[in-house]
Structures are given as C-alpha cells and as structure tokens.
Subunit: 264 residues, 5 copies
C-alpha cells in the first residue's frame, strides 16, 4: 500500500515540477525510452535465466498489492484455532485449513488435520520458508542489478544523442537552437535512467529485502503456533510463547473472553 | 548535543559563505525543494514499510535530544543502590525502580523487587537490548538509504531544469542571461541533494551506528550491575567488575565514603 | 538461449535508435575501438595468468550455447536408470554411462558400473563439483574485472581525443565545425566502454554467477541420484528424495507406467 | 616519520606545480576554506560523539610523531631483562619497569615485580591490547568518514559558487572575465575537498589501520616475552619463541655475549 | 611474462592511437607528471610504513619476471626425488636440496636431510607459506590503495590547471586559443591518473591476488610431497595424492619408466 502511495506521490511531485518548468511533452522521447528501457531489459535478460526473471514479476505484483500481514492477527487466529482444537479435536480445523489465506498456515493446518508427526510438519514448513526467502533474495538481486544497468544505459543514450548532435554541428548548417534541442533530447535518456533506478528498481529491491525479514518473523510465528496447537498447548501459554517473537511495542494482550465466540 | 551544535555550525558556515557570495534568495527554489525532498521521501517510503519509517522519526528525536549517558554515572548509581539493598533489602529499591530514568534499569530493578530469578531477568533484559539494537540498526539503514536517494533526485531535478532550459533556448527568444538563470535554478536541486545527504542523512546514520555501540556498552554494565546487586555482592567487587567493561581512561574510583549518604 | 536473445534485442534497439539519430557510420571509429578494446584486454591480461583467461573463453562459449538443463529431466532419467538397474543389474548401465551427455552423470555411472564403493564415488564427484564451481567463480571475476576496465579506457580514449582536439584549437586554424567533429570522435570511446561493460562484461559475469547456483543444484541432484541408484533404492523413494532438492513449484510427479518402456 | 616526509613531499610537489602555473594566491580563498573544512568538521561532529572525535586527535599526534618501534628491539630488551631476572630475581626489574617507554611493557613488568599470577597478567595485558585496537579502529573510521565528507562539501562549495556566478550573469552586467573568475573561485572548493581527502584523511585512516596490525604484532611479542620472563625461561628459548612471531626476513640472531653487559 | 606482454600491448595500442591523433608531444607534460605521480606516491607513503612499501617493490619485480611455476613440474620432481630417496636414503638428497630453485622445496629438503621430525617440518613450512601469503596480500593492498589515489591526483592536477587557466581568462588578454591550450594541459593530468591506475596499479594488485592462490596451491603440493617423501611412501601413491590437489584438466600421468633415469 505504502509502495503505491510512495510511487504516486513521487510521480505527482515530479509531474508538478515538470509542468511548471515547461510542459510534459519535452520530457517524452521515444528513442530515449527505447535505449533506457530496452538496454536495461536486454542486460537484465542476459544476466539471469529467463524463468527467474519471469518469477520476479510475480513477486513484484505481491509487493504492490499489499503489505505483509501483521503477526498479531496471526497470533490471534492461532489462539482461537487452538481453543477450537482443544474443545473438539484437530479434525475440526479441516474447514479452517481450507479457508486460510496464508499459504504456510494452510499447508501447516492441513498437515495437522492429516495427522503428520511434528518433525515432518516442521521440515515441510521450514523448506517452504527457505525457498520463499531464496525467491525473494533472488528477486532483490535482479532489481538491484537492473538498477545498476538503467543509469548506464541512460548515459549511453545521452552519448548517442551528443555524438549525433556534435556530428550535425560539424557537418555545418547547425545553429545554437539546434544544439540546444539536440542536447535536451540527449539528456532525456539520462533522466529516464536516473528515474527508473531511483524511483523503481532500487526502492523495490530494498522493499523486497525488508519484506523478507518481516515475512520470516511471520513465518516463525505461524510455524511455532501450528506445532504448539498440535500439541494441545494451553492457549494462554501459546500467546505468551508467540508474543516472545515480537518486539515489546508490538505485543498485544489477547482478550480471552471474546475468543470463544470467534472460534465457533 | 554535539549533533545540534554540528548541524548549526555547518549551516552557519554555509550561510555566511552563501550570503557573501550573492544572497540567500538565489539558493531558495520551491520546485527544487519539491523534487529533492519529495523524490527522496517517495523513494524511501517505497523502500521500507510505513511503520518502520515512522518509528525512525522517534529514534531521530532521541539522537538530537541528548547524548548517551555515561556508564560511569550508572556504575555509581548501581553501587549506591547495592549498598541500600544490602542495608535494608531489595524491596527498599521499589521507589528507586519507579524513578529510574533508563528503561533498562527501571525494568531490571522492578524485576529484582518482584523477586524474579536471575535467569528470567537476564533473558528479559537481553531481549530488550536485542530489540533496541535491531531498531537502531534498522534506523541507520533507512537514513543511509535516504542518503543515497537524495543526490540522485538532486541530479534528476538538475536534469529537468537543464532540459527545460535547453528547450527554451531551442525554441528561440532566449539569450545568455536566460541560460545563466536557467542553469542556476537547475543546479540548486543538486545543491539541495548534496546538502541533505552530507549534512543530515549520512551523519545521522553514522551517529545511530556509533550510538548503538555506546548503548550496548551501557546496557551490559546495567545488566551485569543488576544481577550482581540482586546477589547481594560486595559493592567494591561490583565496582571492580563493572569497571572491567570500560576502557582504562574511563575508569573512575568510586568514593565510598560519600556513597552512604547518596543511598539514603 | 536467453543470453543471445538478450544481446540481439539490446543491439537491435540501440541500432534502431542510432540509425534514426544520424546513421551508423558516425558511431564507428577504429582508434576508439583500439583504445577501448585494446586497453581493456591489455589490463585484463596483466591482471590474470594467461591460461586462466584462455579457459574463460571456453566457459563463455558454454554460456552462449545453451541454458543449464532442468534438474527435472535428470530426475526422470535417474529414475528410469534405477528401474533398469533393479531389473537387470548396475552392469546393464554401461551403455547408458557412455551415452550420458552430462559429464558428472557419465563419470558417476561409469564408477557405479566399475563397482567403486559409495564413499569413493562421492569423493570423486564432489571434487568435480568443487573444481567446476571454482572455474566458474574465476570466470565471473575475470569478466567483472574487465567490466571495470572498459569504462576507464573509454574515458582514457575520450581524454586523448579531447586533448588532441583542444591542441588543434590552440594551434589555430580551428573552427566550431572541427571542434564538434573532434568531440564527437572523443565521445565514441566512452560510448564503446559503456556498451562493452553494460551489454557484455557485467551481464556475462552475472550470468556465470547465477548459472553456478543452478549447476550446483543440478550436481547435487545427480550426485544423490547416483548414490541412491547404486544402493538399489526404490524408484519412488528416489523420486521423493530428489524432488526435495527442488523448490515446490518445480516438482513434477513422475509417470511410473511409462517409465518401464523408457528404461529398455 | 615517513608520514611527515610523505605529506611534505606531496605538498612541495603540488606547491611547485601550482607556483609555475600562476601563483599561489589564486588557490587561496577563505570562503572555499570555510565551506570545505567547516562542512567536513560539522558533518563529522554530527556523525560521532564529541569525546570520541577528541580522542582521535591524540591518536593523530602519535601517527605523526613516530613509527611503531621494531619488535626486534623489544625482543632484545626482553632477553636482557630475563637474564637479569634469572641472575638476581624479578624484583631487580623494578627500576626497569619504571623506565620502560612502552606502556604495555611497563604495566607488564610492574605486575611481574608485584608478583601477580600469570593468568591475571595475561588478562590485564590482553584487555589493554583489545582497547588499543578498538581505539585505533574507531580512529580509522572517523578519518575515513571525514574523507567521504570532504569531497562532498568541496562539490557543495563549487555549486554555491557556480549558482552565484550564473545568477550574476543572468542579472546582466557580466562578461567573460567575470565568468572565468567566478568559476575559478568555485573550483577552488572542489580542489580543497579533493586535497584534504587524498593527502590527509584517507592516508591517515590507512596508516592507522596498518599501524594497528604492527602494534598487535609488537604487543603479542611483549605479552609472550613477559610471561616467559616471569617463568624464568632460558633466554635462548625466549629468543627462539619470540622470533617465531616475526616474518623470516625480520629475525635477528641475538648476540649472547654482549647481553650480559647490557643487563647490568 | 603475460604481464609484460599485456603492458607492452596496451602501451603500443595507446601509442598508435595517440600518434595518429596529433603526436606524442602534446601528451607529455612535466607538471602533470609531478602532480599525478608525486601526489600518488606521497599519499601512499603516508598510508603505509616505509619498509612495507619498499618490500612491495621486490614483490613487483617477481610479478614481472616470471609466472608461477606449474605444480606438475614439482610433482614430477618430488616423485623422482622420492625414488632416489627410497633407493639410497634421504641423505642422498643433500645435493638436490642445495640446487632446488624454490625456497620452500629447498628448506623442506634440507630439513628432511637433517632428520627433523615431520611435525617440525610441517610447522616451519606452514609458517613460511603464511608469511608469503601475508606479504602478497599486503602488496596487493598497497597497489590497490595507490590505484585509488592516482585518479584523485589526476583530478587535482586538472583542477589546478583549470583554475589557473580561468584566472588567466579573468585577468584579460586571453583568447580561445589560450583557453584550448590551458584545458589540454589540465586534462593531461587526469589522463595520467587514469592510465596509471588502469594499466598499472589495479592490474598488478589483481595479479598479486591471483598469483597468491596459485602459489598456495603450489605450496600445498610441495609441503605434502616432502612429508610423503620423508615417510618413504610409494612413488605411485605420492603421484596419486599430489594429483588430487589439481583440477582434473591439469593432472598428468607420470611416465614411471623414464623416472629412474632422471633420479640418478
């Protein structure tokens, strides 16, 4: 959410500044776009295997759609599930497993319902977490690499424009106006490269990195929660143990009177 | 304290140099500010989750308000508290616990008064220290990242100004004066970006990093001090053990005759 | 494959942009090429021992010819080989060993047919993997280093051009046209350096790095597969164990009814 | 010593080159100095706590005053002290302890004379070494950080000068001479920033780093020497053991016949 | 060897490009050389203790004189020595020890002839290897550091030239020709700095780094070979064990029939 707001605010500010300085049209140039974007994509496709680049677009979509959900909501959910499981049995969680939004929670609950032993559940979930971390780290590297190519191709485009402009000067018939126009076009590519990197590639790479640490925290909470739930641990103990994963300012006291209602 | 003096001195020096070179007004430009500050904030908000950026402002406030307190004062305080505890009992420290300014000392003393076992106290305090270190490290990363965006958006603003100016030249009617004025405006954004990063973002990031190591030292002293106090260790031994945490030039001999007065 | 497409697309985009801005001929300059390419090669040959640079060309050829083969195909192959081995004996794999395309699989199968003990097979194959990783890492370092030299020699060439041009101006007889022409030539070297690094050296270095991790995954699958096959493990267990190496989205269910046909 | 020669030679070369290109006066500008030096100090004072920056000046003084003393001299000294101790007793070293120039040697000898046990001596000396290493590492970081700020404030000063000059052009009445003069002044700040960093901040940071490794070597020799001396080890064995710390080309054979004279 | 060829080729290419663009004389300027070389040396001498810089010149000479010898030759030599030792006795190797070109091999053989125990031999040789690695790493750091100073002093020289030229413009009497000439001179220093770093300092630093890993491989082969030889191991086993250190493509089969002749 904050990602979209960030990009929109950034673009709006730039847009206003640009409009007031002479109109948008002079900042749009199709050759510049071909060089900056095309070069960056070409270099990125050489750098990484195609399927890996493609998977990154899926990750990108995630980054823009929503923030990582709060571990507090999951602690609450696991507590109410554990109360239900203690009242009826873990088999009663079958419907909850199906409806769980988070993949890790869903897989974990299904395994609990199916009666797998804790060691197997832990192994499967830890493998899931590991591959998720790998996938995100790989995504962050791709964006970071693209962010290094974009300004370089911005520079390359500007060099192309400058060389062409200087040759036009050399072959005569040129005047100050033509030089100004040529340089303006040449600089647009550098502008595209700088914008792409600093308002898109680097911030998204950084976002993926910071998201990963949040998702690991969340995954730890879910993993421990499912194992505690399977053992039929007292919900108050579950709450205490899961809260210990969170920084002090995040910890919430669960309202145990409303919990019974929720779990039905 | 030295942070504020540093920023004020830096700004004063720049201000004098600027005034003597042609007045402040030519260094203020609202479009430039929109691009440099707006772009940097936008990119930073994309890079990190909103609550984490917000928490960083709280940390920032701390950095400016005061320096890390000296471990020597805390050693002194712990010694006088330990004498009081040996004379009366740890229960007599209840009032001191409430009045303790440092969060770690307060939490630790409260746990001692409440009679928790040493292992629990150590665990709780170490978790507190760990989360504090994480919070500061996260803050340093945010400032460092913002410090990388600011010059980039300074450059982007300058490119926007240059392109607009060159187009104006190309569309005729322009003269040397207009070119000079256009370039001056364009360069102001680069100036803002460089100033923001080198007089604010990077120094604050560095400050957070160096503060963290001081605060860890202080936290170690408080943690050990509280555990020694709880065991009813001899104050002279406490002093010796806590002093061992400090570099030689920092160690002070405690005046044990005045201590009794203080502890009452 | 995607490497070649990437380079061709990148070159095509640049070519179109260049042609539309004034023709290709002005972007070709033999002195610029001598300085940018010659300087980069010279610096690279000083930096590394000759045989190591030579071996890198072999690796480069590999990068362009084909992508790393999918571990899924190898899992399939190992399963069908294991079925054959269980039906007849490991000796029946002699022909398959000879025909195996992958060096690791070939060496491994030969050792199984020759009846070496598992420990020896593991040692030999792990040494092979280690040397492959070393060779690729060394190759990535060479490309990365060359990628740092290329823009530097681009700059050096531009400096040479600029100095010569300025001297021509100083020695009189020069006019605006000659200056424009001189600067255009000078900038071509920077253009070559930037292009070489960002469309060739860095992407190939990155490719080698990302290939290595894929090849390690593949090698692990083959190594484990051969050892399981030698022990006469049940093919279904082999499939399960080898699949555990893959990220979830890659895992495929093997069709065990068609398998018998394949293995004959 | 080589530090002072290095700086003087560097300055002399630059001075000659400057004088021959147009006189020193044009390279001195008080505004430029205010911005480059003032900005760098301001940013550094924000980055680090005041007492730490102050301590660094003390370290700086050390760097300029003298080189690290050779471990060979200390090995020689320890051997002759050990002979004296074996002849008379460790108590006879009291006077030598007082006169020892090196702090570590002095503290160590005093502890030997006072009859502390080896474990305590080792602990005290190792703590001393550790804090010395920390202090030097902290100093190197401060110089390195200042070395990153200086060119940035050089650029900021140049931007201020350029903007002021361009505004003057824009407000009319300006001519080519004024522009030349304005740019010359503007560039002086960049010149100061580059000089400060490359002839002072970075070299001193590097020096502190390389000194630290020499001082650790020296400290190891002294620490081991004092412990061997305390045990009354044979001087020839002491020499052999201490020499093992040194690289082969540094090892010297001690002349054992002159040794007796020295030790009296 | 390839180092010299690399430097000569690089210089030749640049020389041709330079000559064709206007003659060598305009690229030679004594002030520029004083600033670029003088500044770099001054900064390097401040950064490191004098003896360490001096030792680096010795290492440099080695880099240019010859490549690291192939481990295959040494395996061959050790095998034939081991055959001789088994036939006669290790004492028969005294002459071979004296004639051995490699320092490590010489020291090792001498110790074998003198009858030291394996543990001592291993310790002495490992210390030799360690100090060699340290010396080379220290050398690489010095060249890398000098390579960072050279472009900075190139820039400083250019700034000096530009400021002097702009002042000359400002003080009147200047014309376009003088400006062109002044800028050409100013840019020569940047050219020197870039050339020094990219054709000398960085490549040599890289070379030292890559040599070190080759020399470690060679040293391991020699160390193991000497210990195996001392134990009177079968030459065929020695060959197999030493070959295991080499990458597969390097391994050679030793011709055991010619070996007896050689060893006499």
């Amino acid at each position: 959410m904050s990602t979209i707001i960030g990009i929109l605010t950034g673009l709006a500010l730039l847009f206003v500044a640009i409009v007031q300085q002479g109109g948008v049209s002079i900042f749009f140039n199709v050759h510049a776009l071909m060089i900056a974007l095309g070069g960056t994509f070409a270099a990125t496709f050489i750098s990484f295997p195609l399927p890996r680049v493609m998977r990154t677009f899926g990750i990108l979509f995630n980054v823009f759609r929503s923030d990582v959900e709060s571990p507090i909501d999951y602690i609450r959910q696991i507590i109410s599930l554990s109360i239900k499981a203690r009242r009826f049995s873990v088999l009663s969680l079958e419907q909850n497993a199906k409806l769980a939004k988070d993949r890790l929670l869903r897989v974990g609950l299904e395994m609990v319902v199916d009666g797998h032993d804790p060691e197997t559940i832990r192994n499967v979930l830890e493998t899931e977490i590991e591959f998720m971390v790998d996938r995100h780290a790989a995504g962050a590297i791709i964006f970071r690499t693209a962010g290094r190519y974009a300004p370089a191709f911005g520079l390359i485009g500007t060099l192309i424009g400058l060389i062409a402009m200087l040759r036009a000067v050399a072959s005569g018939g040129s005047n100050v106006k033509a030089i100004g126009s040529g340089m303006a076009v040449a600089l647009v590519t550098t502008f595209y490269g700088a914008l792409l990197t600093n308002l898109f590639f680097y911030p998204v790479a950084e976002k993926l990195r910071s998201r990963t640490s949040e998702e690991i925290l969340l995954a730890r909470v879910i993993l421990d929660g499912i194992l505690l739930l399977q053992q039929g641990t007292n919900p108050r103990v579950i709450e205490k143990k899961l809260n210990a994963h969170l920084p002090p300012y995040m910890r919430r006291q669960y309202n145990f009177t409303e919990k019974y209602r929720e779990s039905e």
